[in-house]
């Protein structure tokens, strides 16, 4: 599962441009699912037929990145983005477009900065991607408006139990969902790999409509704020503290029965877990739980530091235990218990 995660993180799949990730997942999923198909938005479905409730496990394929909207006379590229702090992009390598043209994002050298410049945070509209083009015409030979740019960093293991990569949010969820597909559970099981989560849960809404699940489990990377000078009650989650179970976030209030079932699945399987201690941010659960006539939806997240940056960091054991927790939930038939309790 870890090797697969490395490959997934190294693929580029900015929201709206998930093709590379989708092709990779499809190739693996077809060996385990009864049917694999893609909808018009680009969501990928891997369905394992079974008796019992309709269950969806959802992970999003897209990562945060940039979209090019033009080249300047001097050959620098103008971009737009959503969900990326402009402070994390300066001096970073990116790759642009279908041919993955390398580029860098630079800023005025410190020698030339005034005192005011040094205090100021540059905005995305003041930053440019430099692909080494001589001028506008040269740049447009390699890049077209509408091309996507992704951070150019590779997955790496750090220390004994940590890893860093771009797109850990949410390729970890994708890797876990693929692993779950190998198992057989007491339900009609569909792993959904969604598009455009980072732009506002856009793919998941169509996915819920297509599958009509009764129970959904969303697998995510969530914020870990366990940094120096942060008070304990603002940590949200801690890296290395185990997979995080949510009671509520900005998009979803998890039904009590689901929250309790996830906690008992962890306790029964002796998996150490943490409760996510913040309510900000959203994920695909927000779109899935209220689609159609409603669906019992829960969330398991892997705590991740430096989210939405070229170098997010997570714990390998948290990642593996998030899989074990999801597996334990379904293997012990909790999907049936929560339906009976809620309805």
């Amino acid at each position: 599962m870890l090797g697969r995660l490395e490959e997934l993180c190294n693929l580029n799949g900015v929201s709206g441009d998930e093709g590379r990730v989708r092709r990779y997942i499809k190739e693996i999923a077809k060996d385990y699912a009864d049917e694999v198909w893609t909808d018009t938005m680009g969501n990928l479905y891997a369905h394992k037929k079974g008796d019992g409730p309709k269950v969806v496990v959802a992970a999003h394929m897209d990562e945060v990145g940039m979209i090019i909207w033009g080249a300047m006379e001097n050959g620098l590229l103008i971009y737009q983005t959503q969900g990326i702090d402009p402070r994390v992009v300066v001096s970073k390598r990116v790759v642009v477009g279908p041919r993955e043209i390398p580029g860098v994002i630079g800023a005025k050298a410190i020698h030339l900065q005034s005192m005011e410049d040094r205090k100021k945070v540059l905005s995305h509209s003041e930053l440019f991607i430099d692909i080494g083009a001589k001028d506008k015409a040269d740049a447009l030979k390699y890049v077209s408006p509408g091309d996507y740019a992704a951070f150019d960093t590779k997955w790496e293991r750090l220390g004994s139990d940590r890893m860093k990569a771009k797109a850990l949010d949410d390729r970890m969820g994708c890797a876990i969902a693929l692993e779950l597909l190998k198992q057989t559970y007491d339900c009609d099981f569909t792993a959904v790999f969604t598009v455009q989560e980072e732009l506002g849960l856009r793919g998941a809404q169509a996915a819920a409509y297509n599958v009509k699940p009764q129970v959904a489990l969303v697998l995510e990377g969530t914020t870990a704020n366990d940094l120096p000078k942060t008070q304990g009650h603002q940590h949200i989650t801690k890296v290395g503290g185990g997979p995080a179970i949510s009671f509520m976030d900005g998009s979803t209030i998890v039904p009590r029965a689901m929250f309790e079932a996830l906690k008992s699945a962890a306790q029964e399987a002796e998996i150490s877990f943490q409760v996510k201690q913040g309510t900000a941010g959203g994920n695909d659960a927000g779109a899935i739980h209220k689609a159609l006539s409603g669906c019992v939806t829960g969330v398991i997240s892997v705590p991740t530091r430096y989210l939405h940056s070229p170098c997010s960091l997570a714990s390998i054991s948290d990642f593996e235990n998030a899989y074990r927790l999801a597996d334990a939930f379904f293997a012990t038939g909790k999907q049936n218990e929560v339906i009976n309790e809620v309805l």
Partner: protein
């Protein structure tokens, strides 16, 4: 006339967004004798169905959730840190008695730094905490878990023809809907929906609307007011009657829906006023946009000091709302495009 004990029971029941079990039980006990079938869906919406003969379906919806505080951390001294559930104003939330679903009581306060007093300029919810009288984390955890929710403690107050309580938004409308179901005369199928999770972004009612597929929806919710000192100008006033929704920040009501309600009010001599609310959304919007679109409007009860523990309403508006709802569903001809 209205039944005050029923109103009091419904408005004082516990039920923050996503944790509406207690208020569901209370409302269910009142509506079960009045309808043919009561169901609860996957999100927790309580749907009371009264069968009709016309083949037309009317959805009447009032959200039953209230705003609250959710526990996000318990420290070593037993203090609880919280996050808001819905639109909680931090200053309003401080120095309040609160209660949890299991009956645990507590009080809220702010970090006071060195002064010993609350600093109103520091109004972030992250600086708010709940003191439940525990000396240690262990003692606190015996009563309250992460994810448990607190609401403002019961404070039902009668002030002549007006009442004040923490959850009038929107329990006063839940009570009005129950009241209207008593001996309701109609030839249409009535689906009275007590919806969940409105306060966190109208998340519940859409699922119920999808399941029902109504021909007409009338949403009951509270609206703001324009009759207190130095408030934002707004035509609605307490005691001015049932407020017929023209629009709010989430929805524009189709003219044939609000003129239908105005015609009914005029014909039956029911006090009414027009409701144009610039801030805040309601369940009307998600029902209107469900399936292939639904004709949806609203009747609002004006409530002062919304999202505070002293929300205040006038029972004359309550009575007018009940009367208008009953008269509207009695009509054979419903609004149509």
């Amino acid at each position: 006339m209205y039944e005050k004990t029923m109103i009091q029971k419904i408005v004082t029941a516990y039920g923050p967004s996503g944790r509406e079990q207690e208020v569901t039980d209370v409302i269910r006990s009142f509506v079960e004798p009045l309808v043919d079938e009561v169901t609860v869906d996957a999100l927790g919406n309580l749907i009371a169905h009264k069968k009709g003969t016309s083949g037309k379906k009317i959805m009447l919806v009032a959200h039953m959730d209230q705003i609250g505080l959710v526990v996000t951390d318990i420290d070593e001294k037993g203090f609880l840190r919280v996050s808001n559930v819905g639109g909680v104003h931090p200053v309003t939330a401080a120095a309040r008695p609160v209660r949890f679903e299991n009956g645990t009581r507590g009080v809220t306060y702010f970090e006071t730094e060195n002064s010993g007093f609350m600093n109103p300029s520091k109004t972030a919810i992250t600086q708010l905490f709940i003191d439940i009288g525990a000396d240690s984390r262990e003692e606190a955890e015996a009563k309250v878990q992460l994810g448990d929710m607190a609401v403002y403690d019961v404070n039902f107050l009668e002030m002549g023809r007006r009442i004040s309580c923490g959850a009038l938004d929107n329990r006063i409308c839940c009570a009005a809907l129950v009241e209207a179901l008593k001996d309701m005369e109609t030839e249409h199928d009535i689906y009275a929906v007590f919806s969940v999770q409105e306060e966190v972004g109208t998340r519940g009612a859409g699922a119920a609307a999808y399941a029902i597929g109504p021909d007409l929806c009338i949403n009951l919710d509270v609206t703001l007011f324009g009759d207190t000192p130095k408030c934002m100008p707004m035509a609605v006033k307490l005691g001015g009657g049932a407020a017929i929704k023209i629009m709010d920040a989430s929805v524009i009501v189709a003219p044939m829906v609000y003129t239908f309600l105005e015609d009914v009010a005029k014909a039956e001599d029911i006090a009414c006023q027009r409701d144009v609310m610039r801030m805040g959304g309601t369940d009307t919007s998600v029902v209107q946009r469900s399936r292939d679109g639904v004709l949806a409007g609203g009747i609002s009860i004006p409530v002062r000091y919304v999202h505070s523990p002293v929300e205040t309403a006038d029972l004359r508006d309550y009575e007018a709302t009940v009367a208008l709802l009953r008269a509207a569903v009695k009509r054979s001809e419903l609004p149509q495009r």
